[in-house]
Amino acid sequence: MATVTTTAPRIAVPGVLKHPVPRKLLLLALAAAILVPLANARWASGSWPAALTVDFTEPLTKASVWIIDNRDSHPLFLYFFGHISNAVVIAVRAVYLVLLAAGWAGVTAAGALVAWRVAGFRLAAGTGIAFLACGFLGMWIPTMQTLALMVVAVLASVAVGALLGLAAGLSDRMDRILRPVLDTMQVLPAYAYLLPVVLVFGMGVPAAVLATVVYAAPPMARLTALGLRGADKEVLEAVESLGTTARQRLLTARIPLARKELLLGLNQTIMMALSMAVIASVIGAGGLGDRVYQALGSVDVGAALAAGIPIVLLAVVLDRVTGAAGEALGDEPQPGGRARWVYALVAAVAVAVAGRLAGRLDWPDAWALNIAEPVNRAVDWMTDHLYSGVPVIGGTADWAAHFTTWVLDPVRDTLQWLPWWSVLLIVAALAWLIGTWRTALSAVLAMAAIGVLGVWTPTLDTLSQVLAAVAVTLALGFATGIAAARSDRVERLLRPVLDVFQTMPQFVYLIPVVALFGVGRAPAVAAAVVYALPAVVRITTQGLRQVDPAALEASRSLGATPAQQLRQVQLPLARPALLLAVNQGVVLVLAVVIIGGLVGGGALGYEVVAGLAQGDLATGLVAGAAIVCLGLMLDRVTQPTERRAKKGA
């Protein structure tokens, strides 16, 4: 029975692979045979040769001193950055004052009514409950501060992103120029550009908003460009034949046709901006992020969670509401839709005024739930009982120690032992096998740039942690994803869990991972796995579920067992999705390298954190740049060319 399974989808793969692979490898070997002895003769050294590094310390230090000395007097600051900074402060303040004036009742009513109009009754109820929960957790004022910051940051990101996207969507040249810029903006760890932003704008809200814009604008730009380029050719031609000007075509046809992508871009931008809310607290943004960060100072997981939950709630509500708005697009407008908006507006104002008259603007102190205490008790119990001395399986600290000695150490030592040119060769081979010679070249150049920056050794340390974390993430993620794809129940149960893990500020689980795994690289890996897992699970599940039902049906009729179906039909057919999961896993793990630095991961993550803490632009920026290069290299090595071609459409 087992022999009669469908092998059809697999035939194509070896056929394609047969020819180019040996040829590419042979060429590479030839190049290596000529170049390596040359390189070795000149710079015989295992690690990156010192002769090939450039020291950026001096110019960067000079730049930061110049900024500090001239910030209060130079025209560039007085007439340009100063105005930007002031505008941000004024805008955030205006939104904040409006929110305060509406009072808790008014804000909750307005939120629920907007959700009702956009997304229906259920989401309206959810939104209302979410806002009230923020109040009950004692976080009303910080929630409003974060909301004010978010409103301004998202509007600015959308404006910047849409402008960039418009340029990239209308001009091929701009598209080519902008693509690497957007890539860099997204891979650059937020921590690394907090410092330059702080130097220019000073601590606090303006710097936080601008750092958020850098982080959150790229998805808007990408999706805008995608939407404009994807517009139906026939419709455009029809419009053109009407004798419209280019601008009319843009406004009446191309932009309206792209509105689904535009809304998706808005959705992505909101999510990215929220995930910056906590990181930005490190530079004094205030609000919920600051509460999370302050709670960590006294090692109070419960209090950190109390501030983290409102962030999760805001994220889920905003995600669902903008998502629903995107789906509702294109539906026939309901009769009387405009009138209902008016009713909603009037109702919100009425509630706000009523709250005001009742003298209930501030959230009443008596209405507070104290979740900090039970949470801390639970964390204490967990660490008391799991840390060590669990019979048979050993405690988490023992696992962590074994993981460090048996996995992390050997991988790191091997990477650092490899001669530098052989690392470049391996990168070239991997990137070339999966892509073109261009991919290979950019991967090698990215890796070489790390050497030139003079952080070769710590980067390989970070790389070893990333590889270990990705391996664990993929093993867990594929297993969970397969389970979720096979059972609707599992998927339903998993969804809220994944939501929480994806949006909970990473700072919150900093203490639990240390309490469970001790200080070092093991908790850093654990934090990365927790963060990257949801995306991998989601993509795997979706990929498996989208496998053509006909192929499944066919294999079933041939008598394949579920396991055989999975192995021989679903997994091969879902290969593109699985590869995407690998790629996303790598990118997300890399995003948590910084958090790793905060729990003893050392290497690049620590240097970025140290750069910010010491106001040392050179250390922080160089380590940040190395993380970008590492991310670029890993992206090239894990992302097949076909998909890149599609992505850039």
């Binding site: 910030r71 209060d72 100063g82 305060l100 606090g204 004094g284 840390y387 060590s388 240390v514 003893g600």
Partner: protein, 314 residues
């Protein structure tokens, strides 16, 4: 192009034409609803939280201010202070370079006097271990115990645990210059370091850590200092060649220069704020161990130490 021009001109309109003074930008959350506001910077350790909690309580309940707090590391806090983003820094452990730049050269920050607490950094072992092995408290004998201090992270050597990168530390140079068989492992944040120390203490394991006093954790995990070669003025001048202990530092307060002049009662209170190590530890312990909110802790302390803070108000 028109959009850019329109954007720039509307920016100028919004913010008032002409020069924008970057030194005069308070937080957008300050002075909301017409209250007088003071913005204090808090550093990540609980001692600093305790200072701010008490100052905040007195400012709010005795003088009717509204207080905003912002958590930032020390060096960025100096920067924020000079720009007026925060009004005061309540506990500074000595930053000569920043002092030269902002206090002496730019005059945007003024000293706010002693906090009354003396800080000291050092190497510590848990007291339960020091009692069993009294000779561990001299650096010369540390190598003997390197084996017992080993962890997966420290390779074959003993582990010397350091904390947040924002803290003043010479430990890497010290280990090298004193030729010790130890590896400095950076916990990366104080939260991580405290969590690890507590875990070690729960199991009564030996460990060696960078730590500082005053610190509430001593009440929870008693620790004994390891004697390093004696500190002499200037022995830590060259960061590469340091081979001596850390100094005892009387902790300082700093105020934004404008705020010091125009801050009225609030500035006066913050300048007079001066208490003892015991006072600070009492509040810290309530915050960190009994998990009282900083406000409750400050209230408790204020209720039982009226004579101390009455003097700051006058």
């Amino acid at each position: 192009m028109t959009a850019v021009v329109a954007g720039v001109s509307s920016l100028a309109l919004l913010t008032g034409c002409g020069a924008a003074d970057m030194t005069k930008q308070a937080s957008p959350f300050a002075n909301a609803q017409g209250a007088k506001t003071v913005t204090l910077s808090v550093q990540s350790w609980v001692g600093a939280q305790a200072n701010v909690a008490v100052a905040q309580y007195l400012l709010e309940h005795k003088l009717g201010y509204r207080v905003d707090t912002v958590q930032i590391d020390e060096v960025p806090a100096w920067d924020a202070l000079s720009q007026g983003r925060v009004d005061a820094l309540m506990e500074d452990w000595g930053h000569p370079e920043e002092e030269q730049r902002y206090v002496k050269d730019k005059k945007t920050i003024v000293p706010g006097g002693d906090l009354g607490v003396t800080g000291h950094i050092g190497w510590f072992v848990p007291t339960y271990f020091a009692e069993q092995h009294p000779d561990v408290t001299d650096w010369k004998n540390l190598d003997k115990y390197a084996d017992q201090m080993r962890t997966a992270e420290s390779g074959g050597k003993g582990q010397l645990m350091d904390g947040s990168p924002s803290y003043v530390t010479n430990d890497k140079a010290l280990v090298e210059n004193l030729d010790l068989d130890y590896q400095v492992v950076f916990a990366g944040s104080e939260a991580a370091q405290i969590t690890q120390i507590k875990q070690f203490a729960k199991e009564k394991k030996p460990f060696l850590t960078y730590w500082y006093s005053p610190q509430w954790l001593f009440k929870k995990v008693p620790m004994t200092e390891v004697k390093l070669p004696e500190y002499k003025e200037g022995c830590d001048a060259d960061p590469e060649k340091v081979a001596c202990a850390y100094p005892h530092t009387p902790l300082q307060k700093y105020l934004n220069a404008d705020f010091a002049k125009t801050g009225g009662e609030a500035a006066a209170l913050l300048k007079k704020f001066k208490w003892t190590t015991e006072d600070q530890n009492e509040v810290s312990l309530m915050i960190a161990e009994q998990k009282l909110s900083p406000e409750e802790a400050a209230k408790k302390w204020a209720d039982s130490h009226e004579s101390t803070w009455k003097a700051w108000l006058s």
